[in-house]
């Protein structure tokens, strides 16, 4: 309507007030709409924040739409770097559980003897290891002599409020395939009629086979699945299972049928995970990943191909995180584990090695490497100081983040949580619900070449999502307050269900 018309219509006489009314109506409607639209957005946000479906998890067996589109983030080389001559890890001393098992056996023998216990007191390979890393001998002794007895005393005094959490963890760990007891040449192969090895099926196309394995693994419960050619550097130099006790001292020859690695896995249940270290458990995802891996291996074997599972907690012949990174599921974070775009660090993977011909996935670069340079939230929140504040280091020829596993395990030995701490998983900015807010933040960070958003998001993370003081995570006996990162879910609050007297 032109100004002239407006002037003529603005008299307020019969038939003349319509424009004024219409304009007033529009202004009023605009104001009301702004209020209603704002309220709607607030309610939408609240619902998005509460929505349990944004906890991407094992239950989304066909949740392909929730899986991040990795295509545009694919790179030829992973974001850890090969910088020198590489070598395979010696699990006998570099795998914390294996080393401490060996240490305990020797330490108990040595403790009754004369003279001080030094690195020289131990047989190989512990002797060489402790000579190179004397601080780890101190930490291993500390764990045995002080932390474990203290933890037993703390458990008597403080564990009652954690009964539901412990019961839930026990329930989660109650089911799962047992450990592999046979060597690869026996265990890995399918058995046909009469115990003979069946002829492998002739697969038409490696790319289609890879798609098949992925969709089958998701049907079997895997949240994320990736496939890669197996880098021998990730296979232990010595076995820690599947051989007789004596054979464990013989180097592990990599079987020629360990060509490919299929990585499957699921996240831990989210709400308890945020209440680490006291209420979370690894058992839930461990159990699911073990079951999925066993099922995928059974599927592959049924096609006539060899398959071997490498599953949590300790039933491995290889290191899983770098294989998962090679398979394009994520990047290594400062906390030493893999960060995925979907579930952050909240992912417990398992691997199936096989020679079923499949197309490999490419590694991805979603900006985690740069983000972790600035963020350091996990290092600041880690009570044990196991996560480095500094730069990456070279480990066996690869430049990567490396945590101090002895310090790490010493802390979680001292807590009453379910066999672990997992705080670095809880506090990671990538370990968030898959709702609009965190998905947007992740994508902004992944696509910003300036690095500004990383700094901004890091500041927001530290300001908006504070946690307890790291010292507070310790037990009172060690000067702490037995704190958890967040409140447990209502169904793990023991005092609401059980009369503790």
């Amino acid at each position: 309507m032109s100004d002239n018309e407006s002037k003529n219509d603005g008299s307020g006489g019969p038939g003349g007030g319509s424009d004024v009314n219409r304009r007033d109506f529009l202004k009023l409607a605009g104001l009301a709409s702004a209020a209603a639209g704002g309220a709607g957005l607030g309610a939408f946000g609240y619902a998005a924040g509460k929505d349990p479906n944004t906890y991407l998890g094992w239950q989304n067996q066909e949740g392909a739409s929730l899986v991040f589109n990795r295509k545009r983030y694919e790179v030829d080389e992973p974001t850890y770097q090969e910088v020198g001559p590489t070598s395979r890890p010696d699990a006998r001393v570099e795998q914390i559980f294996e080393r401490r098992g060996r240490f305990m056996r020797e330490y108990m023998r040595l403790r009754g003897g004369p003279g001080p216990i030094t690195a020289e007191s131990f047989p190989e390979p512990l002797r060489s290891y402790y000579l190179a890393k004397p601080q780890d001998l101190d930490l291993d002794i500390l764990n045995t002599e002080e932390l474990q007895p203290l933890n037993r005393a703390d458990a008597m005094e403080y564990s009652d409020p954690l009964i539901l959490s412990q019961a839930w963890s026990a329930a989660m760990g109650a089911v799962g395939p047992g450990p592999i007891n046979g060597p690869p040449e026996v265990n890995d192969f399918p058995r046909g009629r009469g115990g003979t090895r069946p002829e492998p099926m002739k697969m038409k196309d490696p790319a289609k086979t890879a798609e098949l394995i992925k969709v089958i693994s998701m049907q079997l419960g895997s949240t994320l699945t990736g496939i890669t050619e197996l880098n021998p550097d990730w296979v232990y130099g010595y076995p820690i299972r599947g051989r007789g006790f004596e054979d464990l001292e013989q180097p592990l020859e990599i079987p020629d049928w360990w060509t490919y690695a299929i990585v499957v896995g699921t996240p831990m249940s989210w709400d308890p995970m945020y209440a680490n270290p006291n209420y979370g458990t690894s058992n839930d995802a461990y159990s699911r990943s073990r079951i999925i891996a066993a099922r995928v291996a059974a599927f592959v074997k049924a096609l006539g191909y060899p398959a071997r599972t490498h599953t949590p907690g300790t039933s491995y012949d290889l290191i899983v995180p770098p294989i998962s990174i090679d398979a394009g599921l994520g990047e290594q974070g400062r906390n030493g584990i893999m960060i995925t775009p979907e579930v952050g660090c909240n992912f417990r993977p398992a691997v199936i090695t096989t020679n079923l011909p499949m197309a490999s996935d490419k590694p991805i670069d979603i900006g985690v490497d740069d983000f972790c340079l600035h963020c350091k939230v996990c290092a600041e929140e880690c009570p044990s100081g196991a996560i480095p504040m500094g730069d990456k280091v070279e480990v066996r020829g690869y430049r990567r983040w490396a945590i101090d596993t002895a310090k790490c395990q010493n802390f979680w030995t001292s807590t009453l949580g379910n066999m672990g701490c997992r705080l670095c998983v809880s506090v990671c900015p990538y370990t968030r619900k898959a709702n609009w807010l965190h998905k947007t933040a992740m994508k902004v960070s992944a696509n910003d070449p300036t690095g500004l958003s990383e700094k901004l998001l890091t500041s927001m993370q530290k300001s908006f999502y504070p946690g307890p003081d790291p010292q507070d995570y310790y037990m009172p006996s060690l000067g702490g307050a037995n704190a958890s990162y967040r409140e447990p879910p209502w169904w793990l609050k023991t005092e609401d269900f059980i009369d503790l007297g």
């Binding site: 100004d3 424009d19 529009l26 009301a32 957005l41 946000g45 609240y46 619902a47 998005a48 924040g49």
Partner: protein
């Protein structure tokens, strides 16, 4: 809460958005403001910012992150208000002397 995952919710939000834009247009005409495209652009950005702030607060409280909701709400709310004041002045900078058109004076 299924409504928020449906197209219907965003359809209704879209209708409300249209009314906000129409209301803004009516208000500008009342004041005799010239609103070129770039000012409309600024207005849209401000609406986005305001919407983000509200949704951020809602989401944070929904997640149980009340500290994030409060601190984020204060921070983004302050930014939204300051930007709103700036936008207001930018919009009024185009006002014709004597105010709006005859209709608004009638």
């Amino acid at each position: 809460m299924q409504i928020f995952n449906s197209g219907l919710f965003w359809f209704i939000e879209g209708i409300l958005f249209v009314f906000v834009v129409l209301g803004m247009g009516a208000w500008a005409r009342d004041r005799g403001l010239r609103v070129p495209v770039w000012k409309w652009g600024l207005f849209m950005i401000w609406l986005l910012l305001a919407g983000f702030t509200i949704a951020f607060v809602g989401t944070s409280f929904g997640e149980g992150e009340s500290v994030a909701g409060t601190r984020g709400g204060l921070l983004f709310g302050a930014i939204t208000i300051i930007a709103g004041v700036g936008l207001w002045r930018v919009l009024l900078a185009g006002a014709e002397p004597g105010g709006g058109d005859v209709v608004s004076e009638a």
